[in-house]
């Protein structure tokens, strides 16, 4: 399907615009449908948002560093903590994971592109449009200020347009993610290289498939909740307003029906990355591949059945609370299985402590802390004490920062040479790791103490007599340590980019298909689509097992399945670049502004026209799929 051939000149009379032809420069990026370039766009955008969301976090920590902080006003503080959460979840961890999925899924399953390349470009541009739309609220009267969960009826009765931007912005990014979820799921199911059976797929691909299904099934739920919220605010319905018969608890159900699977959307990609990195640097196959895969699927499946543990204090009654306490404890089991498998992978391995490896091990260690504090929330009476305190903040930052972000950085260090042909500096990298490791524990460790001392979440200041000052100061010092580590990472990127590229195809002695092709890979990925004969196929082409389980390198060309390769990439048909994905996606925020501002209702129509023009141009584009 991906191999749409670009027709010869003159053979394309129809269509509004000629298909773009640039292969370098800005236009080539704007019109690209190459999954690798889209992956890089996702990654760069996510890192930019990481800096913005991180800066917001620094302001939050400055404000809380000492009692009666004066750095931010209460309202600005509310906007900052809300946007920090939204940014880190929707515009950092999700798109950074999407970057890895986009870049790596076709490479790891031996495909030339994703199933729907133009749809892929549309997903990226719509995601970017949603992010810019949401951030534009800062300049248009105030950003959302009711927390990322936007509890009702607080959010819809709060003054200003923040909540409207929240609803419309998340609908746009949700649409982008749904489209990309369908696209990537179909890619994994349908575009595998010959011989790449489901149980020969790398664990990262399995986690990718699970995440796409979670997204496809959870995003529509939040979409409905967001529309209902928007209708309440804009059209005067009463969905979540208890004064007129609405029920705020419905919002909480719909939000957490989405919100909990979303947690696994954030963590499973990092788990997949770690499952790739550990075996390579332990020079051993992943211990219990099937168990890791099934545990991942189980986490995804059970992840839909635990949402009420976010609502224990709502008062749904002992039956609901008990049932969901049990399901929450059950979901710890597959997670524990994964931890043991990772430790089993390291056991007696020939360990190489590269930066990627250190981040992966850091992930495993710190994620256990977050996982264990998570189990304490499953105990309902204990949760009553912890809910809405900093203990919860500590828990989910151990999972999402010390977990997801560490896993994603492991991936960045691991696949950087594949994408750019250069390894990131190990010296800078280790400084980055240790600073971030110390910083994370210094920031989020004390929050356990603060929470148990009774410090509530979301407050913008606290009086000195509560005795919360010390640990808050420690956490703030930790936050700046993390900021320093991010600067070290950026320095590393700059230093590395100035070095000559080595173009090593397989710098880490890897196990999976992406290391068979050059670094960076050619636009068509593989000259010849590889034929896959086993799990970790690339590894088995390089090594055979000698007596007593020792590894014996296979002589070059000895078991080379590439022998049949011909034609250095000639005659491969790739999807042509296109203007229409970006055109269609630009329509979305225009509709958004029309919905947010009653007086600018005509913008909604204008945006819809832009969207339609984009979609029709797309559908009628010559040599379409």
């Amino acid at each position: 399907m991906a191999s749409v051939s670009v027709p010869a000149e003159g053979a394309r009379p129809r269509g509004l615009l000629r298909r773009p032809t640039a292969t370098t420069g800005v236009w080539s990026w704007i019109t690209t449908v190459d999954h690798k370039r889209i992956g890089l766009l996702y990654g760069a955008t996510a890192l930019l948002f990481f800096l913005i969301g991180g800066t917001e976090a620094l302001f939050i920590r400055l404000q809380l560093a000492e009692p009666n902080g004066q750095v931010l006003s209460a309202d600005t503080y509310n906007q900052f903590f809300t946007m920090h959460g939204l940014t880190m979840i929707f515009f950092v961890v999700m798109p950074l994971s999407a970057a890895f999925f986009n870049y790596l899924i076709p490479l790891m399953i031996g495909a030339r592109d994703v199933a729907f390349p133009r749809l892929n470009a549309f997903s990226y541009w719509a995601f970017l449009a949603g992010g810019l739309f949401l951030y534009s609220s800062f300049f248009l009267g105030g950003a959302p200020n009711n927390g990322w969960f936007s509890y009702q009826p607080l959010a819809e009765t709060s003054a200003g347009n923040g909540a409207n931007f929240y609803a419309a912005g998340l609908i746009i990014t949700g649409l982008a993610s749904t489209v990309s979820a369908v696209n990537l799921a179909v890619t994994i199911i349908n575009m595998r290289a010959p011989g790449m059976t489901l149980f020969r797929m790398p664990v990262f691909i399995w986690m990718g498939l699970t995440v796409q299904l979670l997204l496809a099934f959870s995003l529509p739920i939040i979409t409905v909740a967001l529309f209902e919220m928007l209708f309440d605010k804009r059209f005067g319905t009463h969905f979540f307003d208890p004064k007129t018969g609405g029920d705020p608890v419905l919002w909480q159900h719909l939000f957490w029906l989405f919100g909990h699977p979303e947690v696994y959307v954030l963590i499973l990609p990092a788990m997949g990355i770690v499952s790739e990195v550990l075996p390579v640097f332990a020079r051993k196959p992943l211990f219990g591949y099937q168990f890791v895969v099934f545990a991942g699927i189980a986490i995804g499946f059970i992840g839909f059945g635990v949402w009420v543990h976010h609502m224990f204090a709502v008062g749904l009654g002992p039956v609901a609370n008990t049932a969901f306490a049990v399901s929450t404890m059950i979901i710890a089991v597959p997670t524990g299985i994964k931890i043991f498998n990772w430790m089993g992978t390291l056991w007696r391995g020939d360990l190489r402590f590269t930066t990627a490896m250190m981040f992966a091990i850091g992930f495993v260690g710190l994620f256990v802390i977050g996982g264990l504090s998570g189990v304490t929330h499953a105990v309902v009476p204990s949760d009553f004490q912890q809910t809405d305190t900093y203990y919860i903040v500590a828990h989910f930052h151990y999972v999402l920062f010390a977990g997801a972000i560490f896993g994603l950085f492991a991936g960045l260090y691991y696949w950087w040479p594949k994408a750019f042909g250069r390894r990131l500096s190990e010296g800078w990298g280790k400084a980055h790791f240790w600073l971030m490791f110390v910083g994370a524990n210094l920031t989020f460790g004390p929050m356990h103490m603060l929470g148990l001392q009774g410090m509530p979440r979301r407050i913008y200041t606290y009086p000195a007599r509560l005795g919360l000052g010390f640990w808050n100061l420690v956490a703030t010092i930790g936050a700046f340590t993390i900021a320093l580590s991010v600067l070290v990472f950026l320095a590393n990127v700059i230093v590395t980019s100035r070095k000559a590229a080595q173009h090593e195809a397989d710098p880490w002695d890897g196990r999976t298909l992406e290391w068979t092709t050059s670094s960076p890979p050619p636009p068509y990925n593989f000259e010849e689509i590889p034929a896959v004969h086993s799990l970790d196929d690339h590894w088995h082409r390089k090594y055979a097992e000698g007596k007593g389980g020792t590894l014996v390198p296979v002589p070059a060309g000895g078991a080379d399945h590439h022998a049949e390769a011909q034609s250095g990439g000639h005659g491969i048909h790739l999807p042509g670049p296109s203007y229409y994905p970006i055109v269609a996606s630009i329509g979305l925020p225009i509709i958004g502004y029309g919905v947010v501002y009653p007086k600018l209702w005509w913008l909604a129509i204008a945006g819809a026209v832009v969207l339609l023009v984009g979609l029709y141009g797309w559908a009628l584009e010559p040599s379409a799929e």
């Binding site: 349908n190 010959p194 529509p220 689509i529």
Partner: protein, 204 residues
């Protein structure tokens, strides 16, 4: 692509499963839509018994009228499969005829919904009246919007066929639009029962 090994699979050599990407994607999308309409229908079910002030949907429903709308939408599903059957046989004339009929039936349905909404508003039930009316208009409005998108796609197919750009080899495009159209129909089957027929029973 991937010609090497899939020769064994025969005609559909393009994909690992032998299934076309677009059709698999469409089914996944429809599965996802189940959760969208599920949430809307659940919201209505939750709020339909609410005792807010003002006119409630149940007070203004005209079941005879809505039944005819339901028949119209069901009939459009039939004409849709007949259109698919026509293009699979290579019968472009019948293809356009059935596509056009399907689009017309869809327009009758949406037009009927617009008329229904205006008559409800005249009887004093707007989207703001109470939580039940809001849930009703949101649910049926989302459904109507889906039907409208379907009509746009059907009319586009008619034009494409007229331009000679919808040959027999592209019957899959018609099949995809058909899947979407039937899905919108089955959503209505549920809405008709859950929203229109059942609450009347509980009220008696």
């Amino acid at each position: 692509m991937a010609q090497a090994v899939h020769e064994a699979h025969g005609a559909d050599h393009e994909t690992s499963t032998g299934l076309p990407n677009v059709k698999l994607g469409m089914w996944l999308f429809l599965a996802s839509e189940c959760l969208l309409f599920g949430a809307l229908i659940s919201t209505y079910v939750l709020y339909r018994g609410s005792i807010g002030e003002g006119v409630h949907p149940i007070d203004v429903f005209d079941i005879a009228y809505t039944s005819i709308s339901s028949f119209v939408l069901l009939a459009s599903s039939l004409t849709m499969v007949l259109a698919l059957s026509a293009i699979q046989r290579g019968d472009q004339v019948r293809l356009r005829l059935w596509l056009m009929t399907t689009a017309m039936l869809g327009m009758v349905f949406v037009g009927g919904q617009v008329y229904e909404f205006t008559s409800f508003i005249r009887e004093g039930m707007t989207i703001k009246t109470n939580v039940t009316s809001g849930a009703f208009y949101t649910l049926t409005g989302f459904h109507g919007a889906h039907v409208t998108v379907g009509i746009l796609m059907l009319l586009s197919l008619v034009v494409l066929s007229g331009l000679g750009r919808l040959g027999q080899e592209r019957s899959q495009v018609v099949e995809l639009v058909g899947l979407y159209w039937h899905f919108v129909d089955i959503v209505w089957i549920v809405i008709f029962t859950v929203v229109y027929l059942i609450p009347a029973g509980t009220a008696r």
